[in-house]
């Protein structure tokens, strides 16, 4: 008799359960806010993980796409009167298009060249957002009008907790689907040996571009949510530090581990909330985390734990 639930989908179920059950433990509304932020960042991290963990391509400018999505839901309603929910889609499309355009030349690059090119891209987005003050409000940023869905004003930490949580579950599912599919295998192959992948008929350039575009869309949606949730957006959202924070989340949770994306995001969102002095030490700590994990714990938390557990089982 076949199992009712595909075991492949088990991790998604676990995550969905976490999302639903967690609020039972929340002592106050403040925790909804933290939870929402965790799921928002985790969404962006899943996308970045597809790029870095699966396909093995470094991106140091991913916050740029976050910024595009974030400003789309600010500029659209404020300057063009377009409803926020539509701007979310438009932002995602713009991010995807930008990723497609920028990705074509720069994904031909390997290793450090690609890293620098993505770094430059992120910085460029931040520069544009800072300079075009007429549209973006300049370095101080701009207010983001509240999202209205069918007459209902979406605001408040609990509303966004559920929206972000649900979206994360969907994003998680899509990524998991990708992993167990011809495209996913092709991406992992590209990661391990591009030349062998090509020899087997994989159009490496096209696959890299596809995953780059997908990861940009993930980041864009996350950015839009962030802006709508906070009601305010500044160019820092697209800045270098944010890009590094995303990378640190990937590295921490485990490159290539989709579940690890949640762990990485959780740690780096919750930690600053717990240590109020964190803000001072944030950069130093981020840098330290990336270094230490890359030197000693290359697989990241989740795969390392999984390795330890399966070692016990034997």
């Amino acid at each position: 008799m076949r199992v009712l639930i595909d075991t492949r989908l088990l991790p998604v179920l676990v995550v969905a359960v976490i999302v639903v059950v967690l609020p039972l433990f929340f002592p106050s509304a403040y925790y909804f806010r933290v939870g929402a932020l965790v799921f928002i960042f985790a969404l962006a991290v899943v996308g970045l993980n597809l790029l870095m963990g699966f396909a093995g391509q470094v991106s140091l400018g991913h916050a740029g796409f976050l910024g595009i999505g974030a400003y789309a839901v600010a500029i659209g309603p404020v300057h063009f009167g377009v409803p926020s929910w539509l701007c979310l889609f438009i932002g995602a499309i713009i991010s995807g298009a930008v990723a497609f355009a920028v990705g074509r030349p720069i994904l031909k690059l390997k290793g450090h060249y690609l890293a620098v090119a993505t770094l430059g891209f992120g910085l460029l987005v931040a520069i544009v957002l800072t300079n075009e003050a007429n549209w973006t409000g300049g370095p101080d940023g701009m207010n983001v009008p509240t999202l209205t869905l069918l007459g209902w004003r979406v605001h408040g930490s609990d509303a966004w907790y559920w929206i972000a949580g649900a979206t994360f579950v969907v994003g998680f599912l899509l990524a998991l689907n990708l992993k167990e599919s011809p495209t996913g295998r092709a991406l992992q192959a590209i990661h391990d040996s591009e030349i062998a992948a090509r020899v087997l008929g994989i159009d490496v350039a096209r696959k890299k571009l596809a995953v780059f575009t997908i990861s940009a869309v993930y980041a864009s949606v996350a950015g839009s949510y962030l802006a709508l949730f906070n009601g305010l957006i500044t160019p820092d959202a697209a800045g270098f530090l944010n890009s590094i924070e995303l990378v640190a989340m990937v590295v921490l949770g485990g490159m290539g581990s989709i579940f690890g994306s949640l762990v990485g995001a959780a740690v780096l969102v919750v930690l600053p909330q717990m240590l109020t002095v964190f803000h001072e030490y944030e950069q130093a700590l981020l840098g330290l985390i990336v270094m230490v994990f890359m030197i000693f714990l290359r697989k990241g938390i989740v795969p390392s734990l999984a390795g330890v557990l399966s070692g016990w089982r034997k």
């Binding site: 599919s181 996913g184 092709a186 992992q188 192959a189 391990d192 090509r198 020899v199 008929g201 290539g256």
Partner: protein, 262 residues
């Protein structure tokens, strides 16, 4: 039927002519071996034919159609596959997954379908898995299917690469030193595998140093020296060729080659 021909193939790196005006013509269903001293350009020739290098001069035709300058993935889609001298295994994936990647050009789902996991994707995964297992069976690696590829020993990894290349159902398979670093038992296994490929109508191009294997299995042998063709013919002809003996086989080597049939 000629499955592959190349005329006037040339390429140089930084002033060194690695391959200089080489012509080859390979008939379908043969085992065609390329031999020569180290540095004679064997792997370079293979890289030219498999699209990894673009020739600076010359033309290549595959099944009668011009493929000069085609990149590896385009050639793969026409039925050309290869293995690598220094092993390009997907070490983070399992043995089975490695071979499943080999099925890529026969897989029919697109990226959006993959994201959403239509039923067609689940079906595709199953078909691919089954075909990959069959490929593994041909090289005797089915039992290792779920092990991480990096955990196999050297000889097994060489066979894995062959299984992976096989999975793409090539018409022409280029093997780059498949027996390098293998002990006599492993080399025998490779010999058997190649014979079974030929029986299925696959044309095999072999770059090898192991003279026993080459002389035993080849229909034609092409000798390279310093980027140029030195000789070509049947194994017996090449073995007896004085120039080849002097440049490559040496007296001992030609004796070893003579003993291959013994």
């Amino acid at each position: 039927m000629t499955i592959l021909e190349a005329e006037g193939l040339s390429i140089g790196f930084g002033g060194v002519r690695a391959i200089d005006g080489v012509n080859i013509s390979i008939a379908a269903g043969q085992v065609f071996s390329i031999i020569g001293p180290n540095g004679s350009g064997k792997t370079t020739l293979l890289n030219l034919v498999s699209g990894i290098y673009t020739p600076q001069d010359g033309a290549i035709r595959f099944s009668g159609e011009s493929v000069t300058g085609f990149p590896p993935d385009r050639l793969a889609r026409r039925g050309l596959s290869r293995t690598f001298q220094n092993l390009q295994i997907f070490s983070q994936m399992t043995v089975l997954q490695n071979v499943m990647v080999g099925r890529h050009r026969h897989e029919r789902t697109g990226i959006l379908a993959d994201l959403v996991h239509w039923p067609s994707v689940a079906r595709q995964n199953k078909t691919t898995r089954d075909a990959a297992r069959a490929s593994l069976a041909r090289v005797g690696l089915v039992d290792a299917a779920d092990r991480p590829a990096g955990s196999l020993d050297y000889g097994a990894l060489k066979r894995l690469e062959i299984a992976r290349a096989l999975a793409s159902e090539p018409k022409l398979l280029l093997l780059d030193e498949p027996a390098a670093g293998c002990n006599p038992v492993e080399t025998q296994d490779i010999d058997q595998v190649i014979r079974s490929l030929v029986k299925d109508g696959i044309t095999v191009v072999l770059v090898e140093h192991d003279m026993r294997l080459v002389m035993n299995i080849s229909d034609r042998v092409h000798v390279l020296a310093r980027g140029k063709t030195l000789a070509e013919g049947t194994p017996q002809q090449v073995r007896a060729n004085a120039e080849v003996i002097e440049a490559y086989l040496g007296v001992h080597g030609s004796q070893e080659a003579a003993h291959a049939r013994a």
